[in-house]
Symmetry: C2
Subunit: 371 residues, 2 copies
């Protein structure tokens, strides 16, 4: 009896970490190009089980390794094929959704020429998309589309023009009498203002929600949170003031002056993923008269005692992936509710600290905003 | 005397092709990071003479070569330094302005992790900027900035949503009574709708021209010209109809419906660089009632007999780099003028078939449009 139990536990441990050795019999040969590939590129490919396969041309190289793979194994080593290309498949299925990666060629870090680049880890990285079973919510559909506007706004505090991306919902150009609420939405450490639209598909998520009548249209603004001025692991050294000044004193007034916004705290939200959540928490607490809706996506939590004036907060949204120990998010939400806050939690099934968690979090949060 | 003449001719030949052997004494050691580098990256670097210097980390590689270099020499071979990095400097100064390149590592084509990527040659390529003496006209300045909007427009003919970028000038959001002329501006072969804003700085050129009062504000629209469906060198096989349908029947009506345009031929221009010039010529001739301003930038020329109704053409603008045999552009302009057209030519000094020619061409053309 004891032996059987141990065997079951062993199998469970294996499958929870997905670290089983690759058996060629188990890999279904229905690989297709990843949806983020460069025009005309076949590789990287993904199969229906979520395995990723890579092919890199570097005939005279001694070693080619892809950083993507199952946890703790140093990625996927490619093998030289007869035609001089390097080919390899991940040892097991990857989590659904978007993953950053890079390619190590003879000791140097490069990108896969087959796929598009995305800003993460403070560099433009390769990206691959493992089709999620629920990918329909961020698909490009034949519905009215909002625009994503690159804005260069004056920033006296940093003595330059800074960039923001502003999503304006479908109809914004034509409904010239209508004014809109605004969500300020921050990226994580290593990323920048391009992340939410490029890897997050925030614009498509909004287009689809609006087309289905699930939300009232609102504007989304992304700008660089200056998060990468501090090294990973040294977050405690991060000073919020420079970014807080840019956001509160420069960007928000610019957006309110140049877009048809409802320029009131009751129609302004701030949310962020990972380190952008930390920024959101700090700034919403420092500036309680600016935002009424707060969202932390894999980005920590509020305690009831953090917030001085409960009446100013209309929503606290906390989320995480199921692989990120979401219990603390759920507990924090319970405590906030008990203290009388409108707190909502969301856990993304079978995802970790990655963009599918955050796409889904936006999907869950958007209908709760500006009620 | 004869000997002296020959010597002078020899020197002239050398300097016109810039193919002199590198003398370390002649390279000024004032290298600075290229303005297109990724955040925090020191290399690639450029010196005040226009030499480019590269540093690539690939300690176990056998050979590293950068495609950029003087014509016909296969780029720049890097040498392994004591610290395991690969370093090299171009044999001579590069032309001023923007250049695409890639890095060959042991026979494979990759990008330089130090710099940003730009879509050219039907792939995202590395890019470097050799500071031009006249770079002020496309510099990011403390002036009001227009927005660059990513638009997804419905395209029944290709059964998808297609992407365009729309530059709206400063003040567009606030001056809600004002309507604007539109320039449809096409990229070249191997490029896409990102080229004019990313490597062309078209938005900054416009912002600066408007701030100096040199032009009346207008809108610019870039979309993918479907040019890369044909192989380089097989241009004759290119069929204009699919793109013409997208542009004329889908994009222009969408832009006129969703932006405050003056929706008349007298306030609509089409221009394009290289193969985008070929598209411009073909479409303006096929559809004489759509555009009144035509621009071919390193993209061929019109003959007077090409145009049936002279009264419909308000401007023909032809340009080329001085290294592109611009005589044929000048001759064509003369013939057009003699035939009674308002034709203007522009030659970019000391540049070839490259983006500084086209940035300058836009600078020269913009003030002539919509008069």
């Amino acid at each position: 009896m004891k032996k059987t139990l141990r065997k079951i536990a062993f199998i469970a441990a294996l499958s929870s970490s997905s670290c089983f050795a690759q058996s060629t019999a188990s890999v279904v040969e229905d690989f297709k190009p990843s949806t983020f590939n460069q025009p005309g590129q076949e590789y990287p490919m993904v199969n229906s089980q979520g395995y990723a396969r890579f092919k890199i041309v570097a005939p005279a190289a001694d070693s080619v390794r892809v950083s993507l793979g199952l946890g703790g194994r140093g990625g996927t080593k490619l093998k030289k094929a007869d035609d001089g290309t390097w080919v390899g498949t991940t040892e097991g299925p990857m989590d659904e959704g978007f993953h950053y990666y890079n390619v190590n060629i003879d000791g140097g870090k490069f990108n896969d020429p087959g796929t598009l680049n995305f800003y993460g880890s403070t560099r433009w990285e390769s990206g691959i998309e493992i089709p999620a079973h629920d990918r329909d919510f961020y698909a490009l559909k034949n519905v009215p589309h909002g625009n994503v506007q690159q804005v260069l706004f004056p920033s006296p505090s940093t003595n330059t023009s800074r960039r923001a991306f502003v999503y304006t919902p479908p109809g914004y150009e034509k409904n010239t009498k209508e004014k809109y609420p605004v969500l300020y939405l921050q990226h994580g450490w290593g990323e920048d203002e391009t992340a939410w639209m490029n890897q997050g598909h925030a614009n498509l998520i909004m287009d689809n929600l609006i087309a289905e009548g699930k939300i009232k249209p609102f504007i989304i603004v992304n700008t660089y949170g200056m998060t990468n001025e501090v090294k990973w692991g040294r977050m405690k050294d991060f000073k919020i003031e420079p970014f807080q000044t840019v956001l509160i004193d420069e960007l928000i007034p610019y957006v309110d002056a140049n877009f048809r916004t409802i320029a009131k705290p009751s129609h302004r939200a701030m949310a962020g993923l990972s380190m952008g959540g930390m920024e959101t928490k700090t700034i919403t607490l420092n500036k309680p008269d600016v935002f009424a809706y707060y969202g932390l996506l894999s980005g920590g939590m509020y305690a009831p005692e953090d917030i001085k004036d409960k009446s100013k907060v209309k929503l606290i949204f906390l989320s995480a992936g199921s692989k990120e120990k979401p219990e603390r998010i759920l507990e924090a939400t319970t405590k906030l509710k008990e203290a009388g806050f409108n707190a909502v939690s969301y856990v993304s099934d079978k995802t970790g600290h990655e963009f599918l968690t955050w796409r889904r979090s936006l999907l869950a949060m958007a209908p709760l905003l500006f009620k």
